[in-house]
């Protein structure tokens, strides 16, 4: 079934992705995202085996890694790819005002 997203839904998704969209783009995405959703919905047609839920396309269990250190990157290499940097830090435009901070 063909789906069309509402204007609000498109704007909400754009807001979450931190991107600006023009009015004409909104119209375009209402259809395009709707089509994507319909495509993905086809997955519901797949039968589940043994009623067991899969979270990955295989059934093996996770192999745990030993807690021992490996090689790390040189800090210079790390920041080399960053468009903006200050000392050893990667610099980005300020996201929130100075007296705020985001935690996990």
């Amino acid at each position: 079934m063909k789906k069309v997203l509402t204007k609000e839904e498109v704007l909400h998704v754009a807001d979450l992705a931190r991107i600006e969209v023009s009015d004409s783009e909104v119209e375009k995405y209402q259809e395009e995202l709707g089509k994507l959703l319909s495509d993905v919905e086809q997955i519901n047609m797949v039968e589940n085996y043994d009623d067991e839920r899969l979270i990955a396309p295989w059934t093996e269990e996770t192999k745990l890694r030993e807690d021992s250190e490996g090689t790390m990157l040189n800090p210079k290499e790390v920041i080399e790819n960053a468009p903006r940097r200050a000392g050893n830090y990667i610099a980005v435009p300020v996201v929130i005002s100075e007296n705020e901070s985001e935690g996990a």
Binding site: L16, A17, R18, I55, A56, P57, W58, T59, E60, E61, T62, K63, L64, R65, E66, D67, S68, E69, G70, T71, M72, L73, P75, V78, I79, R84, A86, G87, N88, Y89, I90, A91, V92, P93, V94, V95, I96, S97, E98, N99, E100, S101, E102, G103, A104
Partner: protein, 476 residues
């Protein structure tokens, strides 16, 4: 504090786990190093990289779940929490939204002698994000913290006062520190607390509007910020002011909470199972192995110390000093005077460690040497003053106590005959004081005793000498 409204409080705590490496990569888990020096392509979220789960994280999480009396989930997975923010270049944080490793637990706090259970809703594993610092219109990123393993512990909204919140956090910190799950340093961010509080008039009313206070820097500030928030919301409710769910933070300069943001609606993180990490199965063997590594916990230690006649106040102090408590615990199967042992550890030895800014493990004190010292003190072969004199040698040299005593020239004068001879000499040379004593001046005996100590350079058993001196004076 006002009593017009009842507060309902819930606490979320993030604790960094004490592992060598990160949760999903083998780069080092470390603090205070040069920015961006502890990373690899996984931590930086490079395309095509895959997470590999650290077995130590699971072990520590099982230990934590066990001491928090949680049930442990046997089949679990991770989920992606999607959001766009520079602290996480993958644009999702790997966490456990659906199958937290621990659930339905509790921590018991002591509220004026009464026990109260603070119920734990769930405890899940997740990765830390990079540390962002905001300064002069820019945000600076340090990925050393990205991928550091965390557990998040969420209580049920069952805390009824700021004091209870403080007691809960103290207890939680003690438990996680003692089990070596985390070093729990709030000042370094290895333990971080968020609190939420809502007010209502009666227990039967629905819960009021929830306000979250984020990133509070110390346990005492958790209590203080909740008290301030209780006060602030009370004023608003009394004035019939409406407020929305919001996130605030505690400003310790203003000594009050300040608004960070009005809360976004939930459900925006579009969680879904992390397909790169298949199911994790927690086996009986894993649980047993983790449990074996849990040492005697603080409450049990206090109980044991009190049974060994150590006063409660000192038992508490010992538990606050993990290293001293561990050291004393290594003697529990030995026949020593624990009161003397405790006094030495909390007294002269602690004073030395504080002054020298050293750990006990950085001294030359061994279990055997300590037992020898305790025995010498409890048999009164050496006085507490002697201990002060020889302590440096005890803690800084490899010599045995016997060798140190003989080197220091301490004569262990404890036989009556020798002491009496000294007393006779002192009495002969201080006839005036003897007369004063006879005339009822009590101070005179202290002077005479002082002379005895001086003559023997403090190496006489003072209790014994005093008794003998009294007998002698009465016989004159």
């Amino acid at each position: 504090m006002n009593n017009n409204y009842i507060p309902t409080i819930g606490i979320e705590v993030h604790v960094e786990l004490k592992t060598n490496t990160k949760i999903f990569s083998n780069s080092k888990n470390g603090y205070g190093q040069m920015a961006n020096s502890l990373t690899n392509v996984v931590d930086l979220g490079y395309p095509g990289t895959l997470p590999t789960l650290n077995e130590k994280v699971i072990e520590l999480a099982i230990k934590a779940a066990t001491v928090l009396n949680c049930k442990i989930r046997r089949q679990m997975h991770f989920d992606r929490k999607n959001y766009f923010y520079p602290d996480n270049p993958k644009n999702y944080q790997i966490t456990q939204a659906e199958t937290p490793i621990g659930y339905d637990g509790y921590v018991e706090i002591d509220l004026d002698g009464e026990k109260k259970k603070i119920y734990i809703e769930e405890m899940h594993i997740e990765e830390d994000t990079c540390k962002s610092t905001h300064k002069s219109g820019k945000t600076y990123l340090d990925f050393n913290r990205a991928g550091v393993p965390l557990i998040e512990i969420v209580t049920k909204p069952c805390i009824s006062s700021p004091l209870e919140a403080k007691l809960y956090l103290e207890k939680l910190k003690e438990l996680l520190f003692y089990t070596d799950v985390s070093d729990c340093k709030m000042e370094e961010g290895s333990m971080r607390a968020d609190a939420n509080i809502s007010l209502r008039k009666n227990e039967s009313d629905p819960l009021g509007t929830k306000v979250e206070i984020k990133n509070i820097g110390s346990i005492s500030n958790v209590k203080l910020s909740l008290e301030k928030e209780w006060e602030r919301q009370t004023k608003m409710l009394d004035n019939n002011e409406y407020f929305k769910e919001q996130t605030r933070r505690f400003d310790d300069k203003k000594n009050d909470t300040v608004l960070m943001r009005v809360k976004e609606t939930g459900n925006d993180y579009r969680y879904f199972p992390e397909p790169d990490i298949p199911f994790v199965y927690i086996t009986d063997e894993m649980i047993e192995n983790a449990k074996k590594k849990i040492p005697m916990l603080p409450d049990e230690r206090k109980k044991v110390y009190i049974e060994k006649n150590i006063p409660e106040v000192n038992a508490k102090k010992l538990v606050e000093h993990r290293e001293l408590s561990d050291f004393l615990n290594s003697l529990l199967d030995k026949n020593v005077d624990f009161v003397v042992a405790c006094n030495l550890l909390l007294g002269d030895i602690s004073a030395y460690l504080n002054k020298e800014e050293k750990k006990l493990s950085e001294t030359t004190l061994t279990k055997e040497k300590f037992i020898e010292l305790v025995n010498k003190v409890s048999s009164k072969e050496i006085s507490s003053k002697n201990v002060k004199d020889i302590l440096k040698d005890v803690l800084e040299t490899e010599l045995s106590i016997k060798e140190i005593i003989s080197k220091s020239g301490i004569k262990n004068i404890s036989d009556d005959e020798t002491i009496n001879k000294i007393i006779d000499k002192i009495i002969e040379n201080n006839q005036e004081s003897v007369k004063d004593y006879k005339d009822g001046k009590d101070r005179a005996i202290k002077y005479l005793m002082g002379q005895v100590m001086k003559e023997t350079k403090g190496s006489v058993n003072p209790e014994k000498a005093m008794n003998l001196l009294k007998v002698k004076l009465q016989s004159i």
